[in-house]
């Protein structure tokens, strides 16, 4: 289902962070890219309702404000950046929390089956009885995904899901995200720093800078050498692979390195 964001504005105290953001996300993976502190995480938090922003978020043709709170929670699932949670609970218990609104004092077979089916879908069913605090970062991230998709959301928002994952885990994670997005017809919006991952997996790339969307479209149309130089201040070589997917090789910074300047004077 289509997610349309119109003229979204948000600020922390008197500091504006989002300055009239406009974008559209269709049922596919949309990657939000941009340098640090341009409002990527804030945008995701505004979409899922953690932060209250000015403007409109239109979901399936209707403003989110017109939906009931439980409908929004059911439809939109948000995965924060990897948290340092040390919760002492099993993977199965943590996964079940994704269905918090249907959970009663007694766990019924439906909740149990939904949790196990989700873990199986992600290929981590053998972790079901393992305590969360004994898992690796990558395993915890998979559990977070299980928690997010267990209630079959229409929109999945993910903030830097590959943080602290090695190369293999990053690719595996995105393969999973791509599969569940396609299988469930989900609108997945991912805030990402890794331009190569964004180019490889996203159908739509949204580039943010200074609290605004400055470009959006196919990876090849947004991820260009000129854009990287202008927005990131980095000289990079961008080549297209056999499938027409851009590949970014950073060369050097166009700005003087502040650390080097401080040391060398």
């Amino acid at each position: 289902m289509k997610l349309e964001i119109k003229n979204l504005k948000f600020g922390y105290n008197s500091t504006p962070v989002l300055k009239s953001v406009n974008m559209v996300a269709e049922p596919m993976i949309t990657a939000i890219i941009g340098p640090n502190a341009v409002g990527k995480s804030t945008l995701l938090k505004c979409i899922c309702g953690i932060l209250k922003a000015e403007g409109s978020i239109i979901f399936n043709g209707k403003d989110l404000k017109e939906y009931r709170k439980d409908e929004v929670i059911k439809a939109i699932s948000y995965l924060p950046q990897e948290s340092s949670t040390s919760a002492v609970m099993t993977v199965l218990e943590a996964t079940m929390l994704g269905r918090i609104n249907s959970l009663g004092w007694r766990i019924n077979d439906e909740d149990l089956s939904a949790s196990m089916d989700t873990l199986e879908k992600l290929g981590i069913e053998e972790l079901a009885m393992r305590p969360m605090n004994e898992l690796s970062g990558g395993q915890k991230q998979m559990v977070s995904i299980a928690q997010s998709i267990i209630r079959k959301p229409k929109v999945l928002l993910m903030d830097e899901p590959t943080n602290s994952l090695d190369l293999q885990r990053q690719l595996e994670l995105f393969d999973v995200i791509q599969t569940i997005t396609e299988d469930n017809g989900m609108t997945t919006v991912v805030a990402l720093h890794d331009l190569n991952l964004a180019a490889r997996y996203a159908g739509n790339v949204v580039l943010m800078n200074g609290g605004k969307v400055v470009a959006s479209g196919s990876p090849a149309s947004v991820i260009t050498e000129a854009m990287i130089r202008k927005v990131y201040g980095v000289n990079a070589r961008v080549t297209l692979d056999g499938e027409g997917i851009p590949q970014v090789i950073p060369i050097n910074s166009t700005r003087k390195c502040r650390i080097k300047k401080a040391i060398m004077g």
């Binding site: 699932s77 948000y78 948290s83 919760a87 002492v88 199965l92 929390l97």
Partner: protein, 347 residues
């Protein structure tokens, strides 16, 4: 869901129920032992028959059990439940393993409020004459909770800031208490000091009834939020995205902690470490699914205080040792052990 997983889940739940049964049996044993011990020793048979069939017991045994020991033994269990629940709730809502009514100064604030009422007979609500001690204790514990909460909200303070604020609150109310002692006469000072040691011997059926009533009032208020409290352990953002109103949960939690702590402090005095240690024991045994974590914290608290109550009567024969001193003496080495155990990831 495959059969193997369902079996594994049932096994896990079975283990939790086994722990539950074990701790209930342990509490029952310490409870009976608590009534048996004292200047006049009673047998388990005498205790049980006097509780269930008082008409068939000797008059002296009836008096010892029903007038003196039963309310004290029950108060040990109920106060343990109160402090265990307060500690567990506080550690969850503040996301901090060091949080407890004692370490964050809420007990000290509550104690100061109660001491103020005891020494000067001054209540913050002058119309509530008979209840001014617990009400004073509650108002002061609420003030300290709100101070900690206010700092926690101020510019998204970290849990370390909260703990430091709690320590500041602890020192503030300890100083105010010292000032109160400085200005009081020797009899009043003696009364404050004895009272602050923490003692179950002041228990009457009335104070026990009020404490039980308050615990029964608070338990359903916590029970309806078990899943929300569990979700809080995943972090604020995740809990919010699951529809939990984190701010409201914290405020509600702190008010409930104030009620529980002030009740315990008003009737029993300041008893340390139970609110800190009981949730850690529960966490290690059943994890942090709050459907089990909260009851286990409560029952662990009951077990520790009931055991301490027995020890308070046997550690120095013929004298009832102040229970607050004992819980701290037991609590400190246990706390150090917990700090070392932390490496294994239980927080």
């Amino acid at each position: 869901m495959n059969v193997k997983s369902k079996e594994a889940y049932r096994k896990m739940m079975g283990r939790k129920y086994l722990f539950l049964l074990s701790i209930l049996v342990a509490i029952f044993l310490t409870f009976i032992l608590d009534i048996m011990t004292g200047p006049a020793s009673l047998s388990a048979k005498e205790v049980i028959s006097t509780i269930f069939f008082p008409a068939y017991s000797e008059r002296s045994v009836q008096v010892i059990v029903w007038t003196f020991r039963l309310p004290v033994a029950l108060m040990a269990v109920v106060t343990g439940i109160t402090l265990g629940l307060a500690g567990a709730n506080m550690q969850t809502i503040l996301d901090n393993p060091l949080a407890s009514p004692y370490t964050l100064g809420i007990s000290a604030a509550s104690g100061f409020g109660a001491a103020l009422a005891i020494v000067f007979g001054v209540g913050v609500l002058p119309f509530a004459d008979t209840l001014f001690v617990p009400i004073n204790a509650f108002v002061f514990s609420l003030i300290s909770c709100m101070a900690i909460y206010g700092i926690a909200r101020f510019k998204r303070a970290t849990s370390e800031t909260i703990v430091l604020t709690g320590i500041a609150v602890l020192f503030l109310f300890d100083s105010l208490l010292a000032l109160l002692e400085y200005t009081a006469n020797p009899e009043q000072v003696q009364a404050i000091v004895f009272w602050l040691f923490g003692s179950l011997t002041k228990t009457t059926w009335n104070t026990l009834g009020i404490t039980v009533g308050i615990v029964l009032l608070v338990i359903p208020l916590l029970a309806i939020d078990v899943w929300k409290l569990t979700a809080l352990r995943l972090g604020d953002d995740k809990a919010k995205s699951l529809g939990v109103n984190v701010e409201r949960m914290r405020l509600k939690g702190l008010i409930l902690v104030s009620i529980l702590t002030s009740t315990a402090v008003a009737f029993v005095g300041t008893i340390g470490f139970i609110g800190l240690v009981a949730p850690h024991i529960a966490r290690m045994l059943v994890g942090e699914d709050h459907r089990y974590f909260l009851p286990f914290s409560a029952l662990s608290g009951a077990f520790i205080l009931s055991t301490a109550s027995v020890l308070s009567k046997v550690v120095v024969p013929g004298i009832i040792f102040p229970i607050g001193i004992l819980t701290s003496l037991i609590g400190v080495p246990f706390f150090v052990w917990l700090l070392l155990y932390k490496k294994r990831g239980y927080w």
